[in-house]
């Protein structure tokens, strides 16, 4: 959140994050080399290629795990916070793997390397013969597009919708990489443990996304079942703790976060203007609604970021009947002030 663009908005948490990431990668690469030298001798370039390739895949599994896990526990927030650095690092590791493979396997010959990649594996006869390198190349192209646009500059200029759609292609890249592994190195493996490990990693990613999806679906279904009389029932006043919110689903792509704060209850869009973070899982910090993903802040009564910041999100009318909170299904324009609704007032502001 800033009023001007900076290459990276460094802070202590991001620096610590990157230091630990670099250390973890160094430990992994060192451990891989040790494990490899304990097995059969391989060419040094192949060794480095394998270390970076497997490291990139494992990092991608971690990256794809963080989102769903963060839906299940707020303790994942520190890992989620700087996830884009993980993504760029993963792309760079994949790039090292790809460059070494290109030079080693496709260089020094009578064809230029790119022609060799796209023409050498000609037989399309079943899994054992299916060419795997074009699959890796396609994944790398996607990862490059994501890494190159992994900055708020592109988020703003591409629009959040386009940017989000582009970055959802990570799942296509993951599928291509699984196929790259399955049709590539798995075909040469002499021990089924590698195949089981690949299957387990894929099942883990699918499983936690399904689990997170089921959790969301249950919340959505409950909210729709309680809709009545044009306005939507949020719940009882006592259900929402001070400084916290409750999410209400108003449509397939519309969520409202109803916050309880020092001045009463306020409803704003549940989607952060930055990267679409779930504001209903945020808290009131320093008097502002604070997004759990990157700490973007909004005033609960207006949906505006506190000056000098300029982000705005829609607000919603609330009314309290007895002890029950209802929210209007119609959003106000982003940044429209709505006086908070105090418990016991018994009507809309």
């Amino acid at each position: 959140m800033s009023v001007s663009y900076q290459a990276v908005q460094w802070n202590a948490a991001k620096k610590a994050y990157d230091r630990r990431l670099a250390l973890a990668i160094a430990v992994y690469l060192g451990g891989f080399v040790l494990a490899a030298t304990a097995a059969f001798e391989v060419s040094p370039i192949v060794l480095v290629m394998r270390a970076f390739g497997t490291g990139a895949v494992l990092l991608l599994v971690l990256i794809l795990s963080i989102g769903p896990l963060a839906r299940c526990t707020p303790r994942m927030a520190p890992l989620l916070y700087n996830r884009r650095h993980l993504g760029v690092t993963m792309f760079l590791m994949a790039l090292v793997h790809a460059l070494l493979a290109t030079v080693w396997y496709h260089g020094f010959g009578v064809l230029d390397p790119l022609t060799s990649i796209l023409s050498s594996s000609t037989p399309f006869e079943g899994a054992a013969q299916f060419p795997f390198q074009p699959l890796g190349l396609a994944a790398l192209v996607i990862l490059f597009a994501m890494a190159a646009t992994s900055h708020d500059f592109w988020l703003r200029n591409l629009s959040p919708r386009v940017w989000k759609a582009l970055h959802l292609c990570v799942y296509l890249a993951f599928a291509l990489i699984v196929a790259h592994v399955a049709f590539g190195s798995l075909q040469d493996a002499i021990w089924s443990g590698y195949a089981w490990m690949t299957a387990a990693g894929t099942a883990w990613i699918v499983g936690i996304h399904l689990a997170a999806g089921v959790k969301e679906f249950r919340v959505d279904r409950r909210a729709r079942a309680l809709a009545a009389d044009g306005w939507v029932r949020v719940g009882e006043v006592g259900e929402i703790e001070e400084g916290r919110a409750k999410a209400v689903k108003l449509g397939p792509a519309r969520t409202v976060a109803v916050f309880r704060h020092a001045r009463g209850f306020s409803a704003i869009s549940g989607v952060c203007a930055h990267q679409g973070g779930p504001l209903a899982e945020g808290r009131i910090v320093d008097g502002c609604v604070t997004c759990p993903w990157h700490g973007y802040q909004y005033l609960a009564e207006s949906g505006q970021s506190p000056p000098p910041f300029t982000e705005r999100i829609p607000t919603y009318e609330l009314r309290i009947e007895g002890r029950t909170i209802f929210v209007s299904p119609t959003p106000n324009a982003p940044g429209t002030p709505v006086p908070p609704c105090a418990a016991g007032e018994g009507g809309a502001a």
């Binding site: 494990a35 097995a39 493996a189 910090v285």
Partner: protein, 254 residues
């Protein structure tokens, strides 16, 4: 946003991290690294053996003997026991040495002795010489004794077609599907193709692959069969210790 503030146990990146998050993150990262290292062990344990080939790029050697251009460039070198050995000649990179060797090999049946400089590639007693870049072949030296020729007869071999250079030790591994594109590029560039198969005693055996007429097989004929399980039928001869199969059929193994 705010440089200071109290977020309690709620993580905000630009505020001090709650102690519980610090502990949780530490445990999660350590567990993740341990899992990743376990995955590295599994990956390497599943990798196939790469053989005992050696590509000695640190020592340039000079071999002398009779130069042969067909079916592939090679040098007949005298052994200490009075027999001869055939050492395949290749260029650096993924290139055969046909053009380099052709001017030295006579077509009228005259034997030519040459000295060839380069770097040895050796696996299980079989040798190849990767020629140096700057005029590596010169006329001179001693011709080896007459050759030994053993006709084995028609056989069927089940194995994998590889490029001889990588398999002998330039690349580890120099076989398998992950190496297929490299093998294809090597063979396209003139590196002699071989079939390698596992003998009953577990050792790997190699035979140079040529056409029925003794000339190299056209690349387009061979390309679909490179680095995949293949059954090769043909007549095998052993010349100066080098097995050569004159291929009549290439099929998928039963």
């Amino acid at each position: 946003m705010s440089a200071e503030g109290d977020s309690g146990d709620f993580f905000v990146g630009y505020l001090p991290t709650p102690a519980r998050d610090v502990r949780w993150t530490r445990v999660f990262v350590i567990a993740t690294v341990i899992l990743a290292l376990a995955a590295a062990v599994v990956f390497n344990a599943a990798a196939p053996a790469t053989g005992r080939g050696v590509w000695d790029t640190g020592h340039e050697v000079t071999l002398e003997g009779e130069v042969i251009a067909k079916p592939f460039p090679m040098l007949r070198v005298a052994r200490g026991d009075g027999t001869a050995e055939r050492v395949l000649l290749v260029e650096m990179g993924k290139h055969g040495a046909d053009a380099r060797v052709a001017p030295f090999a006579k077509t009228d049946g005259t034997r030519t002795a040459v000295r060839a400089r380069g770097y040895l590639i050796t696996r299980d007693g079989q040798r190849m010489l990767e020629l140096s870049e700057d005029e590596p072949i010169a006329v001179g030296g001693v011709l080896p004794p007459a050759g030994q020729f053993d006709r084995i007869g028609t056989v069927e071999l089940v194995g994998e077609i590889v490029d001889s250079k990588c398999w002998l030790g330039v690349m580890k591994p120099g076989d398998g599907k992950t190496h297929r594109d490299c093998a294809t590029l090597c063979i396209r560039g003139g590196i002699p193709p071989s079939i390698v198969c596992r003998a009953p005693d577990g050792s790997m055996r190699r035979a140079l692959v040529v056409g029925q007429d003794g000339a190299p097989l056209p690349f387009d004929v061979l390309a679909p069969w490179i680095a995949r399980p293949v059954r090769v039928r043909g007549a095998v001869d052993v010349v100066d210790g080098l097995a050569v199969i004159r291929v009549t059929e290439l099929n998928e193994p039963a």
